[in-house]
């Protein structure tokens, strides 16, 4: 009986999704408590209703839908970030800026250079969409070249675009906020039928990555490069190419996220699109139970982590914390998570549990 219980706990302890799921449950608990304190229905957090709106017809409405909707960009970014962290043991901190640059490039093409406000598209929509993807991929390739072929630390290599991409975006937009008030462009951030489009886009991205990882050996290659790049190279893998590829994928997803985000506000606000998103994406990866030291990764964890973060953000806003102040709490959460995962603390806890176990054994013997 006792032994079984121990086994059960061990299984739970080693479950890779433990951290994100516990965090998600905690957030929900806080929401329920908050609702109780406010005197409203304690389960209003989980309610989903069909609402009639004048602008987009019948739509799904509820806090969970809102979290899934708003969390789409971070979930998309977290996909690429997971692969980058796994393969190169570093993070791509330029994703937020690349989002902004992709959005600026897309809107600049759609509106025409120097036009600040338009309802007519200057070029077909598909050109703008592809341009956003291409710009993201290009930035990813730039980062990937620096990291894989020049051997520069990932964080420093991506620091270049972290600073420059936003500035280039501003230059493309002629220092203006470009508004593209066109319903065809706005659909990526609005509704398709009753469902918000960002949720659908995120679901497609997640499905593609999951399928590719499941049906090809890419995932295994990435992990093996992350665990030991040199050994993988000797084993016949092109380590540099694989690291390069993960950055390209990450850049591509940054482009997708940029498109969704700018469509949401039907404009390209270079200074504010994707601001602090790199932090959320990295946090999602860490929260998903992935080691930031590279190697093994868990995609499902990252995705749950991304939505958990959005749930935290939404909850913080519901509790009355302003947008500017929210980073304080997020920073504290990051530090707690990475501190729990740090090697010295883990060793310390292992030592303590060992002492406990031997202690009980000795007690039993006596």
């Amino acid at each position: 009986m006792n032994l079984n219980e121990n086994k059960f706990w061990k299984k739970i302890k080693n479950w890779p999704l433990l951290l994100p799921v516990v965090a998600l449950i905690l957030v929900m608990a806080v929401n329920i408590l908050h609702d109780l304190a406010q005197g409203s229905n304690p389960f209003s957090f989980f309610m989903i209703t069909l609402n009639q709106t004048t602008s987009s017809g019948t739509i799904l409405y509820g806090r969970i839908i809102d979290i899934l909707n708003r969390g789409s960009e971070v979930a998309i970014l977290a996909l690429g970030m997971t692969l980058v962290v796994s393969s190169s043991a570093g993070t791509d901190i330029s994703v937020g800026s690349v989002m902004s640059l992709s959005a600026s490039f897309c809107c600049m093409l759609l509106a025409g250079y120097g036009v600040a406000n338009t309802t007519e598209l200057a070029v077909p929509l598909i050109v703008g969409v592809l341009a956003a993807f291409a710009m993201g991929t290009l930035c990813g390739a730039f980062n990937g070249t620096l990291v894989a072929y020049f051997g520069i630390q990932p964080m420093v290599a991506t620091l270049i675009l972290f600073s420059a991409a936003r500035a280039i975006g501003l230059l493309l937009c002629n220092n203006l906020i470009v508004y593209v008030r066109n319903s065809a462009f706005g659909v990526f951030g609005a509704f398709t039928g009753p469902l918000p489009t960002p949720i659908i886009i995120a679901a497609i991205c997640i499905a593609i990555v999951a399928l590719v990882l499941k049906n090809t050996s890419l995932g295994m290659y990435i992990q093996s490069v992350g665990i030991n790049a040199k050994a993988s190279r000797i084993a016949g893998l092109n380590s540099k190419k694989i690291i390069f590829l993960t950055y390209v994928i990450c850049g591509f997803f940054a482009g997708v996220a940029g498109l969704v985000n700018s469509s949401r506000i039907t404009s390209a606000d270079s200074n504010n699109i994707g601001l602090y998103y790199e932090m959320d994406a990295i946090l999602a990866v860490a929260l998903g139970g992935n080691s930031l030291g590279g190697g093994k990764f868990n995609l499902a964890g990252s995705v749950i982590g991304a939505y958990t973060i959005q749930a935290i953000t939404t909850t913080l806003y519901a509790l009355g914390v302003s947008t500017d102040q929210a980073p304080v709490y997020k920073a504290i959460i990051v530090i707690i998570i990475v501190a729990i995962q740090s090697a010295p603390l883990k060793a310390y806890f292992r030592k303590r549990s060992n002492i406990k176990e031997t202690g009980t054994k000795e007690a039993a013997r006596a």
Binding site: T91, I93, L146, F150, G151, I152, Q153, M155, V156, A157, L159, I160, L161, F162, S163, A164, R166, A167, I168, L170, L171, N175, Y276, M279, I282, A286, L292, G293, S322, D324, Q325, A326, P327, V328, Y329, K330, A331, I332, V334, I335, V338, A339, S342, A343, P344, L345
Partner: protein, 340 residues
């Protein structure tokens, strides 16, 4: 021949940097001589506007010598400025507020250093959390822009407006009045910090252990150096220097706001890298960093003097320079490993 060999790749990088600065400044003088670029005051103005950056970049150089990085500096400067502004608005004296800011710097660095040194978390993650913490705390203290005017604190106002006249190099303006070149208090503070850190790195036990740890952490530990403690001290020193930089920055801008000093960490890192500090640790010098800051300052000064270029150009140019120097560094590193 022997002399040529003694110029290794690191000195080479520094020489390139110095040459680049001279070339850039000369270019600026030729292109904008008519707009007063040749006056000594233009150079002194670069020092005045970048005095905060000099302190911050010195701190970053110290951290980068241990192969670490500190990107929390920009938001720490913003937090310092906001603390100074709000503290003085509520009637606390200027000197007390400056001491408080330094104390906050010590604590901030202590926490970051502990997490990095003793818990062995990646410096980048810790300082990124620090960056968001600082920016968020600034908003928690006050979300408005707070200016420090004469009514709020006379002493601080006097410090900020004190002119230290330099006896030579003046010019007569078009009204026939002699304009003596001057610097401000913050320049003196920044240059003092620069000199102190230079001496510390060169002549103290702590300074030399920083180089040793950056060269090889394992060897340093085997030599009997206390790696964890030294790392923690390095981050503390960085945060304290950043706080001094924050005071200089505040003396210059006389205001606190949430969006202040965004991207300062980028300027500081690029200054250090352009000045020849290796990101992999163990190589670097604050004098190089100083030249790096001057290059940064010259770029923005040229863009400002031109007046027609978009405000995002300094950002792009600095990033481009950073790119060039990082690639050169990696090429040098590759050459060195080949030689061995």
């Amino acid at each position: 021949m022997k002399k040529l060999q003694s110029i290794n790749s690191n000195t080479m990088l520094l020489l390139i940097t110095v040459a680049l600065f001279i070339a850039m400044y000369a270019g600026g003088c030729i292109a904008y001589g008519a707009k007063g670029f040749t006056h000594l005051q233009t150079f002194l103005n670069i020092l005045i506007t970048n005095s905060g950056l000099i302190c911050v970049a010195c701190g970053l150089t110290v951290v980068m010598l241990t192969a670490g990085i500190d990107i929390s500096v920009g938001s720490l400067v913003a937090m310092d400025c906001m603390m100074l502004a709000v503290g003085m608005r509520s009637g606390i004296g200027a000197a007390q507020m400056c001491l408080l800011v330094l104390l906050v710097g010590v604590i901030f660095g202590l926490v970051q250093g502990f997490l990095i040194g003793y818990l062995q978390i990646q410096p980048f993650i810790v300082t990124m959390a620090g960056m968001f913490f600082g920016r968020g705390m600034t908003a928690v203290i006050c979300t408005d822009q707070v200016s420090i005017t004469q009514d709020i604190n006379q002493a601080f106002y006097n410090w900020a407006n004190a002119k230290i006249i330099i006896p030579f190099g003046g010019y007569t303006n078009n009204k026939g009045k002699y304009m003596a070149p001057f610097v401000r208090v913050e320049v003196i503070i920044a240059l003092a910090v620069l000199l102190l850190i230079f001496l510390m790195l060169r002549y103290t036990r702590f300074g030399r252990s920083l180089y040793a740890i950056g060269g090889s952490e394992q060897s340093a530990a085997m030599m009997g150096l206390n790696v964890k403690q030294t790392k923690m001290k390095a981050y503390m020193l960085s945060s304290v220097l950043t706080s001094i930089g924050g005071i200089c920055y505040c003396l210059n801008t006389m205001a606190g706001s949430v969006q202040q000093a965004t991207g300062l960490e980028m300027d500081a890192i690029s200054s250090a890298v352009i000045g020849g500090t290796l990101l992999t640790g163990g190589v670097g010098n604050v004098l190089g960093t100083f030249v790096g800051v001057l290059i940064n300052g010259t770029i923005s000064s040229i863009v400002k003097t031109n007046g027609k270029l978009a405000s995002s150009w300094p950002n792009i140019l600095t990033a481009a320079l950073l790119f060039v120097f990082i690639v050169i560094q990696s090429l040098f590193a590759a050459m060195r490993t080949k030689k061995k």
